[in-house]
Amino acid sequence: MSLLSDPKPGSPRFVATYGAVALLALIELVILWQAIHPNVPEAYRAYYIDHTTTCMRQPVTGAYTMGTTIDFRSGGSDTTELRPCGWEGPVGNGMHLLGETARLRFATGTTTEAMTLTLEMTADDIEGMSDQRVVVSANGTPVGTTTIPRGQTVTVPFAIPAGVTADTGLLDIVLDVPDAVRSRPGDSNTRKRSIKLTEATLTPN
């Protein structure tokens, strides 16, 4: 009898084949169960699975010389180590904030004094877009909100309180853009548009 032909009901081969079917079904169920119960880091879960953020932090050093003005336009500074997430570019007129949140990181060393972060930003000019609010926090401490009229450029200083970087020597800036818009219906929120960052300076007070 060929192995390709079906075995007679009740024969040993019939039982063995059914056993193989049951085993395969069990293996596939286990793999499915594991797939719907992922065991992943929090950042992975938030970005890929729960979609609670559009900005998944990448490990960057934040290497920065205090007081330097960083140019985020194309042809400007290499800003890779300052951008943990939420940016796309640079393009000619700046670095696009993409999604609902973006982050900057500055390595400040052991300083504990107050600082000023000055950001030059331009609101995108997309049809149907309103003025863009940018809510800024530093290491979890809110440091201000600014509103940028559509298509306009503003330079805004944010006061960073003393001591916020004492523990880590790193200043993690979060920019939330609650008025960001989808440029096409159905677009992912990871593609939302709001502002472009053109320059940033961190100076000790």
């Binding site: 019939f14 079917v21 793999i31 797939a35 992943v40 890929y48 998944m56 992912s188 990871t190």
Partner: protein, 386 residues
């Protein structure tokens, strides 16, 4: 009797020779056409840059995968787009072959793709019901046609077409175990490959009805055939094996789906996306926009799927319908590539185009001409072809 058999036997031998020679001929013609397009599009580049020049868009991802395998998490290159989105079978096969061949990865991949697509063309012969004209068009389409660069560079399409062809040849012969084993590889090549399992079930049901004249007793008949059940449960193993690997490696068996978020694809109703594409009129002139080309490809794919259904080729129609519809939930991206590599649809299209001698001649000419023209658009970074 001897005299009567002699011509038939000779004809059969000639036909067998043609089945092997025609695809080889179109393989050579296709290479020449694409090389010519490359020389016209990039006259400053040396001839040796040809193979690299044809490797665009996702091809770059596959080259890297063949060299370094899957990304861990966090991704070393500090991007969100994990290469878990790309299914393993073909890039890892090329990765294994490159270990024994002394060529750069893209050269090895292109050689393997050419051989794989050649094999896909030859193996497809039983799907053409001895229609040599349709088979000729199909071989020309795969190896010298407008989309031959997908099938001869480093995309998953060569293996997808080959394994899909084997599935439908096996189903045509009611060889469910063969179809199931081919579906293992198909579902490890692209996610939609797993839906060939549905085609297997449908074909088995249709065969039951053809044998008994009734749907009655279908479940009982299936249960009395453990080999059929085994084939059904073996078929999706390619997908399940990949899920098990991702679960072990990343901790997320659905990482291939979850990482799509990093590409920022939209999510919505396929009908909406197709309509949006069709009505994306050009700002100037009459030449259709990329969106219109993509939406047009989707519409053509569905029309041909309807023809498959009308011809009661239910197993093929079901696979084509599901495989074309699912990607459309994420917009029109890559629809031309997905439609161009859908075997039931392309086989049907070639059968229709071969139905009249003059139409066959015109179609063959069109395939060859477009086999030069469309690569020019590909080399020009035409986004509709991504």
């Amino acid at each position: 009797m001897q005299h009567m058999l002699q011509p038939a036997s000779t004809t059969s031998r000639s036909r067998t020779a043609l089945i092997f020679v025609l695809p080889l001929l179109f393989l050579v013609i296709g290479l020449a056409l694409r090389f010519l397009a490359f020389r016209v599009a990039q006259p400053e580049a040396g001839p040796s840059a040809f193979i690299t020049a044809m490797c665009r868009w996702d091809c770059g991802w596959y080259v890297k995968m063949a060299q370094t395998g899957y990304d861990p998490f966090p991704i070393p290159s500090r991007i969100n787009a994990g290469n878990w989105a790309f299914f393993p079978f073909y890039p890892l096969l090329v990765g294994a072959i490159r270990l024994v061949l002394p060529f750069p990865t893209i050269v090895t991949a292109s050689i393997v793709s050419l051989l794989t697509t050649y094999a896909a063309a030859v193996i497809a012969w039983p799907l053409f019901e001895r229609n040599l004209r349709a088979f000729t068009l199909y071989a020309a389409y795969l190896l010298s046609g407008p989309f031959a660069f997908y099938f001869t560079s480093f995309f998953t399409e060569p293996m997808f077409v080959l394994t899909m062809t084997v599935v439908f040849v096996m189903l045509k012969r009611s060889n469910y175990m063969g179809a199931g084993l081919a579906t293992v590889l198909l579902s490890a090549t692209r996610i939609v490959g797993v839906f060939a399992t549905l085609s297997l079930i449908v074909q088995a049901a249709l065969d039951h009805r053809a044998a008994t004249g009734s749907w009655r007793g279908l479940i009982g008949a299936f249960l009395k055939r453990p080999n059929l059940l085994l084939a059904i449960f073996i078929a999706p193993l390619g997908l399940f094996a990949y899920m098990a690997f991702l679960n072990f490696y990343i901790g997320d068996g659905l990482a291939f789906q979850h990482t799509q978020r990093a590409w920022g694809r939209p999510y919505g109703n396929p009908i909406f996306f197709v309509w949006q594409g069709l009505t994306a009129w050009p700002n100037t002139g009459f030449w259709p926009t990329s969106s219109q080309w993509l939406a047009g490809a989707a519409v053509l794919g569905f029309v041909l799927t309807l023809v498959l259904a009308w011809r009661r080729q239910w197993a093929q129609a079901l696979f084509a319908f599901v495989s074309l519809t699912l990607p459309l939930f994420a917009g029109l991206a890559s629809v031309i590539r997905f439609t161009a590599a859908m075997v039931p649809i392309t086989v049907l299209a070639m059968q229709l185009l071969a139905s009249r001698r003059w139409l066959f001649a015109l179609s063959l000419l069109g395939i060859i001409v477009l086999g030069y023209v469309i690569p020019l658009a590909w080399l020009g970074n035409n986004v509709a072809l991504v």
